[in-house]
Every structure is written in C-alpha cells, then in structure tokens.
C-alpha cells in the first residue's frame, strides 16, 4: 500500500467531499474531518512501524505527474520527515476535536482544516521540489482563510500580514528552486538526487545567492528576527485551533526547509554563513524571551516564546552546518533541533489550547486581570503548570532533552554562543514562573470564582498533548531513535 500517498490524499479527498456535502447535514463535516484525520494518523502509524531508522530516506513512492517539466509525485520519509509528520497528524486530530469557528463545524472550516493537513503532510513528505513548493503555498492559502474567517477582532489584518509575509518569502524560494533545477546535471526537481549531487558545491557567489534566497524564505516562515513581525499578530488573532496548528506545525516548515534544502543541498554555502545564521538564531532566542517577558496577553506571550524556542532550532542547525564540527556533535545538534521542533510543537499546541480555554471562559487573556485561577479550575491550573514547566525546559518534560542536545552540539563549535543562548532559558523560566504566580496563585477575585473547569472535548484535545509532553521528556529515545540524523545527513 502507498501509505504516504494515502496519508496525503485522504485529507485532500475528504476536503473535496466535505465541500460538496449538502448544507443540511450539519453534523457531517465534523465527522468526516475527524474520520479523515484519524485515517491519516493511522497511515502515519503504519509508516512508523515500517520505518527502518538505520536507512535514511526510504519508502519512496513515485509517480510521473507532469512529464513535460519532469515533475513527479514523489514522497519519501527519513527520520526528520517522519517525526514531523507524526506531530502533524496528531495535532490535526486534536485540532479537529477542538474545532474551528461556529459549532457544529461548518463545511468550510472542515474543508480548510483537511486541506491544510493534506498540504502540510505533502510538504514534509515531498521529495520533488515542485510538489514541495506547491504544498508550501497551499498551506498559506488554507491558513489565511482559517485566520481571516474565524479569528478574533483584527483577524483580516493579521491574516493578510501573515499571507503577504510568507508568500513574499516563498517567491525567493521559488527562484532558488529553479536555480537548483537548472544547476543540476541533468536538470531535475528530484530532491533526493539534488541532496546527493549538491549541484552548487563550490559555485561561489551563485551558491551564496541561492542559499540566501532559500534562507530568507525559510527565515520568514520560522520566523527568525528580524522577519518575525507577522507572527505575534497572526497568533493572537487566529482562532485557537489555528494558533495551535500555526505554532505547532507550520512554523516547523521553515526549520525543516532549512535542514532539508540549505543544509542538505547547499552545505558549502551554509558552512560559509553558519556563524551569522547562528547569531541570528541567538538574537531570536534572546529577543523572543525578552519581549515575552513584557507581555501580559497570554497568547502574545506564548507567541514570543515560540520565537525564542525556534531560535534554538536555528542555532542547532547552524552549528551542524559549521565547518569544524565533529561528527557526534553534528548529530547531537541536528537530533536535538528536530526533537526540539517536535517538542515545541507538542508543548506550544497545548499552551495555545489552554490559552483558548481561558479566553472562552473569562473573555480575557490578560495576565494582569486574571488571578487565583487554581481554585475554581484545579484541573486547568495543573495542566497549565505542566505545559509552562515543559516550555521553560524543566528536566523530565519534552523540551529539556531537545534543548540539552542542541546546547551540547553547539558547545562543540561555539562555546560562547552556547553560553549566551542559555540566558534565553533563564529568562523564559522567569517569565513563566511569574505568569503562573500572577494568574493562578494568590487571592481569587470575585469575578473569577464562578469559572468552570475544563471538561469533555477540551480535555480530549489537550490531555494527549500533556501525556506526550511527559513521555517525550522521560523517554526521548522514542523519537530520537527514529530521527537518527546520522543515517540521512
């Protein structure tokens, strides 16, 4: 069975199906979306079982698509793809459970979620540059509508900003793809062959330009300071499930591309720019942490910590690209970076769900107004505490092993950079503890006494993530063994 193709096409076909459902079947869109996303999850589970962590890129599924331009439908997985796809399918099931927009879920909402899922999976699995690019842009369109239709007050502005930033970022990527296509001998969009061939190795200025084109595109997506200004707006205005998917999955496209394209296909150029890129990562990590410290809006705070956490990933990838790094440290750094993508996806998704819950109850996310929430909402308080601790990198929770590995890897090349980056962790620890203390401990004011605790569908959406957070923290090998970057890098 072509499990990868199934994983991509089931959500896409279901999206088309939902779009043509008669309007009077009000329960159907949600049911179809749930069914399709669970099926995609099953396909990825099968893939996980069939995956051989020692073999690098594998399970290739290939079909000619547009022979005139030598474009194929070519999907395959390696450790990084598989880990991120697993994250994707899990988060989409939870997002569908939680729902987007008015209840019951409308046809448009279900169709857009499924379209986004199919495109995201296609992006992470694509081994053909054309498909890679198409998937990249289709996710933008779907996300644009999710934010613009069901976001909060300023949704249209935020959606447009998100769309324009990322689309403008995608155009240099397109030019870069065409450059790589033409540089390869013979011309090809086959990413596996391009990674083998490294067509621009030693091409000097040309390679630098192509590297920068890709880097700018992916840096906007990640986002790296100074290209980050779209992110807080989009996260704050997006509906809860939209923020979850945006932070949990879509941000990873940037760092995934950085590894897949810049590191694998343009290693020489990356080695040249490794230090500047790492410094940008450090700036992102520190800047994100510092700005987060000043936020009182919970969603905005989480958004800025995302910039911080993705900064670590950038630093890790840059260290792996640096010239003088030892093989083990390189593996540590990349394993750590990929694990960090997954862990951040899980933890931040949980955080955005939790922020959404308080928004629907208290009609505010302002940490200055909320207080003593632990009393009326003990379960909620506990979940938030776990997620906060995970996000600040507490040992035993998901992000700790990832960040540790990144630091160890970076330490091998640039000890000073590693040392500075650690400051970021200190700041985030402070800000999360501060937030916890402000909103959850202390006296409960009158207005918050009547808040009800989380239940039902909400628990179903967030508890699996908390469980995963703990599992990843205690047994990081579960994912690290699959990632096993030594086998494909």
């Amino acid at each position: 069975m072509p499990w990868l193709t199934l994983a991509v096409s089931v959500p896409l076909l279901a999206a088309a199906l939902v779009a043509v459902l008669p309007a009077r079947m009000t329960a159907a869109p949600r049911a179809v979306a749930l069914g399709a996303s669970v099926l995609a999850l099953a396909c990825m589970a099968v893939t996980w079982a069939r995956f051989d962590a020692g073999r690098g890129m594998q399970l290739v599924e290939e079909a000619t698509w547009i022979p005139s331009l030598d474009i194929s439908w070519r999907l395959a997985v390696d450790g990084m793809s598989l880990a991120l796809c697993a994250l994707t399918v899990v988060l989409f099931v939870l997002a569908v459970i939680h729902g987007v927009g008015p209840k019951p879920m409308t046809r448009a909402a279900a169709a857009l979620l499924l379209l986004l899922e199919g495109a995201t999976l296609a992006f992470f699995l694509a081994q053909d540059f054309f498909l890679f690019y198409v998937a990249f842009d289709v996710t933008l369109v779907a996300m644009y509508f999710l934010i613009a239709l069901w976001g909060e007050e300023n949704r249209r502005y935020a959606a447009l900003k998100f769309f324009l930033y990322t689309l403008v970022g995608s155009l240099p990527v397109l030019l870069g793809i065409i450059a790589l296509f033409l540089a390869a001998e013979p011309n090809t969009f086959n990413m596996m062959r391009l990674a083998e061939q490294e067509p621009l190795a030693g091409a000097g200025v040309g390679a630098s330009f192509v590297f920068l084109a890709f880097f700018v595109g992916f840096a906007i997506k990640t986002p790296v300071v100074p290209f980050h200004t779209w992110l807080p707006a989009a996260h704050v205005e997006a509906p809860t499930a939209g923020s979850v998917l945006l932070a949990g999955v879509l941000l990873k496209m940037g760092t995934y591309g950085l590894v897949r394209v810049n590191l694998q296909m343009l290693p020489d150029a990356f080695a040249e720019y490794a230090l500047p890129v790492a410094l940008l990562g450090v700036v992102s990590a520190l800047y994100g942490a510092l700005v987060a410290l000043a936020q009182t809006d919970l969603k905005r705070l989480i958004a800025y910590t995302s910039i911080n956490h993705m900064g670590y990933v950038i630093v890790g990838v840059a260290a792996a690209a640096a010239g003088g790094i030892s093989a083990e440290a390189r593996e540590l750094a990349i394993d750590g970076a990929v694990l960090q993508m997954v862990a951040h996806g899980v933890v931040t998704a949980a955080l955005f769900f939790l922020a959404g819950f308080i928004q629907t109850r208290a009609r505010t996310r302002d940490l200055g107004l909320l207080n003593g929430l632990i009393r009326p909402m003990p379960v909620y308080g506990t979940l938030v505490a776990v997620a906060f601790f995970a996000s600040l990198g507490l040992p035993g929770l998901a992000q700790f092993p990832a960040e540790l590995q990144i630091f160890l890897g970076v330490f091998d090349v640039w000890p000073a950079v590693a040392a500075v980056t650690v400051i970021g962790i200190v700041i985030t620890a402070g800000l999360f503890l501060l937030a916890l203390q402000r909103a959850f401990l202390g006296e409960t004011s009158e207005q918050w006494r009547g808040l009800t605790d989380v239940r039902g569908r909400e628990l179903a959406a967030v508890v699996p993530l908390i469980v995963l957070t703990v599992a990843l923290g205690v047994f990081p090998r579960l994912v690290l063994d699959v990632i096993n970057s030594g086998s494909w890098l």
Binding site: I66, P67, L164, L174, I178
Partner: protein, 538 residues
C-alpha cells in the same frame, strides 16, 4: 483572351472546414435573426450560434493532426493553428452562453450580434492560420471590425457606444501602423509569405537594413495596440469597462490569444533572423507592460477595469515567452494563453452574474459577501483570482512557472525575475477581491443606489422570462433589497435573476483552472503540438 485557362489554386477543403463552418454559420445566424418569432430570435439564434461553434470545434479536433498548406501559401493548418483554434472557439462558446440572456444582443438584434461574433472568431482563425502578410492583415481586420461594433451593442448606453468608438479609433490606428510596418517588411524582402521573408532575411542578412528595422518596429507597435502591450495599452481599461461584459470577456481572452498567435508566427518564424534586433526591444516592452499593468490595477474599484489592467500585465508575461525565441517559449506562451482564457472567463462570468443580480454593476462592492450568500459564484471568483495571482495548485501558477522556466532557459533570467516581482505586486489587488468576497458582509443595497454606469432607460423589449436556474435560490429572504435594487438597474428584464448558464460557465472554467494546476499534462500534450509550426526553433 489568349485562351489559356486560369488555374485556380488547390484548396484543401477538409483543412479549411473549421473556418468554413464559422462563416457559413454566421450567414445562417444572420438570416434566422430575421425571423419574426421571438423565441427563434432569442433562443434559436444563440443555439444555432453555439451549434456552429461546436461544429467548428469538432472539425478542428478532426483536423488536429493535419499540418499542411491550405490555400496556395496564404493559409496553413498546423499545430499552433489548431490549438489556437480550439481556444478561440471555446471562448466563443462561453461568450454565446454568457450573452444568451444579456442586454446587448437584445438591443442590437440577436442575428447581428451573433453573426458579428462568429465573423470575429473567423477572423481570429484566419489570423492564426495565416502564413502570409496579406492574410495576416485580412484576419486582423476581420477580427477587429466586428469587435468595434460588438463593443457598441448596448446601443442605448452612452458608455457602450463610447467604448466602441474608442476601440475603433485606437484599433484602426493600430491597424494602420501595423500595415505600414508590413508594407516596409514587404519592401525589404520582396515577399509577403513568411517562408519567403525568412528566406530573404537569412540570405541577405537584413538585420541592419533600415527598411526592415522600421518595418519591424512599426509592426511591433501595431501589434502592441492589439495585444494591449504598454505603452500602447491606455485604451484597454476604458474599452473593457464600457463594452457589454460578455463582449469584454470575449475580447479579453480571444483577442489576446489571436494577437499572441500572430506575435509568435511573425516574430518566431518570419523575422527569426532579426531576433537580435527585436528581442531586446520586446523584452523591454514586456517589462514596462508587466509593471504598468500591475501598478495600474492597484486601487481600481471597477472589476472590469481591474481585469483590464491585469490583462495588460498578463500580456507582458506572455510577451516574455515570445522574446526567448525557443520552442519552450512558444509552448509556455500558448500554455499561458489557454490558462489565461479559462481563468478570465471564470472571473468575467461571475461579474456578469453579479451585474444581473445586483444594481452595483461591476463594482467591487457587487461581490462583497458573496462567500456567504452565493458560494456557486464565490468559489469560481476566488479560484480565478488565486490563479491570476499565480498561487500553486492553479493553472496560473503552472503557466507562470513554465514561462519563468522558459525565460531562465532562454538567457533572460532577469525577465523571469520581473515576472516574479509583477506577481508580488499583483497579489495586492487580487487578494482585495478575495477579501471582499469572504470577509465582508453583503452590502444592503438600497433601492436608491445610483446606477453607476449612467442612466439606463428601461427597455420596451420583452422579458426573456429567464427561468432562474438552481443558482438563484441563494437570493433568498435575506436580500430582498438587492433584488429591488436590480430592478432599478435599467429595468433590465430578468434583472435580479441568477441565470444558470452564467454560473455554469463560471464553475466550468474554475474547474478547468484547477485542473490545469493539478493535472496539467493533457494541456502540455496539447501545447506540444504547437512545436511543429516552429521547426526553426530548438
């Protein structure tokens, strides 16, 4: 008389049949239009016209593989000719559907309207098949003259007449300049057929001949007028806005296809050896056109004007395919023409539908909020806009990708970069339409809404009793004001009615746009046939 029998040229009637069908159909339609029965005029004429086009399409497909001289070196059927023919005839069929219950044919008489339409398509076919300067000019005029009249067919609306007159003046100015250029090319080479011109050109090396260069320059200018290439594009928004919308749709897609067909033939066949003289100039024109079109479209509130400027920008993209003088460039241009045809037809069909449903004409406000009330129209418009903007998974993306590929391959990488920049600018105005469709509430159209396009006297003519199709249900209880407003709209019979055939065109074209983006291979295969007309190219 010396008793010598004059030998007529050998004529291949089988190859000529698609053209003959069109001309015959035009005559028949004109006659049927004289019948007294109203049903015969209002429904019989469009039906016959549609049947004529369908027959021509069938004959074209029958002749798809032929590649031969038709009439003594004046016309030849080949891959490019048949593919373009399919485009013209498809555009014509869509136009017949769009104008079936429109105002324009009622005001100008159905027989004449459809006869002119068919004649214009015949002109395009002549143009696309011509291998000779004489037939080029003949085809160009045969396509243009009926169009001047078609633009003016809403005879009681001043803007329609104005648009017709403007088009006539600019169009005939373009024709005159073009003809002068052709005359000089004839003078320089001594031959009117393309093969002869190419031969003389390569044998003598006329690249620096002043006669030849002036001729080339003037014919570029003349064709620039026809294809609305900047800086000869200023007429486009005025004429597009003023003409009846079905005619605008036809003009936008079919004329463009015809103009680029002849661009390809003239420059990439007859004048190929002077490429060093014209290619840089055309590349510069393409750049100016892309920028002028995209910048002009920003801030337009009339959808037709916006699409007019957008069509200017698209002409610039396609010009890039001509500039590179490669087989890849030819295929990319024709591919883009095909995609351009379906995505524009989808957009125009939606505009027509909204013109009939609301009193807002082609203003951006007319599509506001249709995402909630009229999904049948909202989706095609969204797809058309995304495709025009070049978003992946639509035909527009593949088309632009193909063109950029051709430019980079042909050593004009900077032109590919200009295309990318142009697409970035264009996002601003295409997204505005999408935002209006999905993000805004439908405007409460007051009865007193002033009619934007000037006073429209109510017609004495009867109502076609538009049997409102399935699409009309959405105009439900929530928008009675919109219906009332539509009655103000010139008291147009059938006003406020949603016509199924318009929605059908929109949906069909949108589906094709997506199909061209997801499974473009059949279209690539079709376009591949154009290569045989360009044996001189790599």
């Amino acid at each position: 008389m010396n008793g010598r029998k004059l030998e007529g040229p050998a004529i291949d009637f089988a190859g000529l049949s698609p053209l003959l069908a069109l001309l015959g159909g035009a005559v028949v339609v004109l006659m049927v239009g004289l019948l007294r029965g109203r049903a015969a005029r209002e429904h019989g004429v469009p039906a016959l016209s549609f049947a004529t086009l369908a027959a021509s399409l069938g004959l074209t497909i029958w002749q798809l593989d032929s590649s031969e001289e038709l009439v003594a070196g004046a016309l030849a059927i080949d891959g490019l000719g048949t593919v373009l023919n399919i485009l013209f005839v498809s555009a014509g069929m869509a136009t017949v559907l769009l104008s079936w219950r429109a105002l324009a044919p009622r005001e100008s008489a159905h027989g004449e309207f459809h006869a002119l339409l068919l004649t214009s398509i015949a002109g395009m076919v002549v143009l696309a098949w011509s291998t000779n300067l004489v037939t080029v000019f003949l085809g160009l005029e045969l396509l243009s003259i009926p169009l001047y009249v078609l633009c003016a067919t809403e005879m009681r609306r001043a803007t329609s007449l104005e648009s017709g007159l403007k088009y006539l003046i600019v169009g005939s100015l373009g024709s005159a300049v073009f003809l002068y250029g052709l005359a000089l090319i004839y003078g320089a080479t001594g031959s009117t057929d393309f093969a002869g011109i190419a031969e003389a050109n390569s044998a003598v090396g006329l690249s620096s001949d002043p006669l030849m260069l002036t001729g080339i320059a003037l014919s570029v200018v003349g064709l620039g007028f026809k294809a609305s290439v900047a800086p000869f594009h200023q007429w486009t928004p005025d004429v597009y806005e003023g003409a009846p919308t079905p005619v605008t749709a036809f003009m936008a897609v079919a004329t463009k296809a015809a103009a680029f067909g002849i661009f390809l033939r003239l420059f990439d066949v007859a004048l190929i050896d002077s490429a060093t003289a014209w290619a840089p100039a055309l590349a510069a024109l393409a750049t100016v056109t892309i920028i002028a079109g995209n910048v002009g479209a920003l801030g337009q509130s009339s959808l037709k004007r916006m699409l007019a400027y957008s069509s200017v920008a698209q002409a610039g993209y396609m010009l890039a395919g001509v500039v590179v003088t490669s087989g890849l460039g030819v295929r990319a241009t024709v591919f883009y023409l095909a995609v351009y045809l379906v995505m524009n037809l989808a957009a125009f069909a939606v505009i027509i539908a909204r013109e009939r449903e609301t009193s807002l004409g082609d203003d951006l406000a007319a599509v506001e909020g249709i995402g909630a009330t009229r999904p049948v129209l909202a989706w095609p418009m969204t797809i058309a806009m995304l495709s025009l903007a070049g978003i992946p998974a639509t035909g527009g993306f593949i088309g632009k990708f193909f063109l950029i590929d051709a430019t980079v391959d042909g050593g004009y990488a900077w032109l590919g970069f200009v295309i990318v920049i142009g697409s970035m600018i264009s996002l601003a105005y295409y997204l505005r339409v999408i935002a209006a469709i999905w993000m805004r509430d439908a405007p409460a159209v007051a009865q007193s809404t002033p009619v934007p396009a000037g006073p429209r006297p109510a017609l004495a003519g009867g109502s076609p009793e538009g049997d409102a199709g399935p699409g009309s249900v959405a105009l439900g209880a929530e928008s009675p004001p919109a219906q009332a407003g539509a009655v103000v709209y010139g008291g147009e019979p059938g006003g406020g009615k949603a016509h199924w055939e318009v929605a059908l065109v929109a949906v069909l074209c949108a589906a094709l746009t997506v199909a061209a983006g997801v499974v473009p291979q059949p279209l690539f295969d079709l376009v591949q046939r154009c290569g045989d007309a360009f044996t001189n190219l790599v």
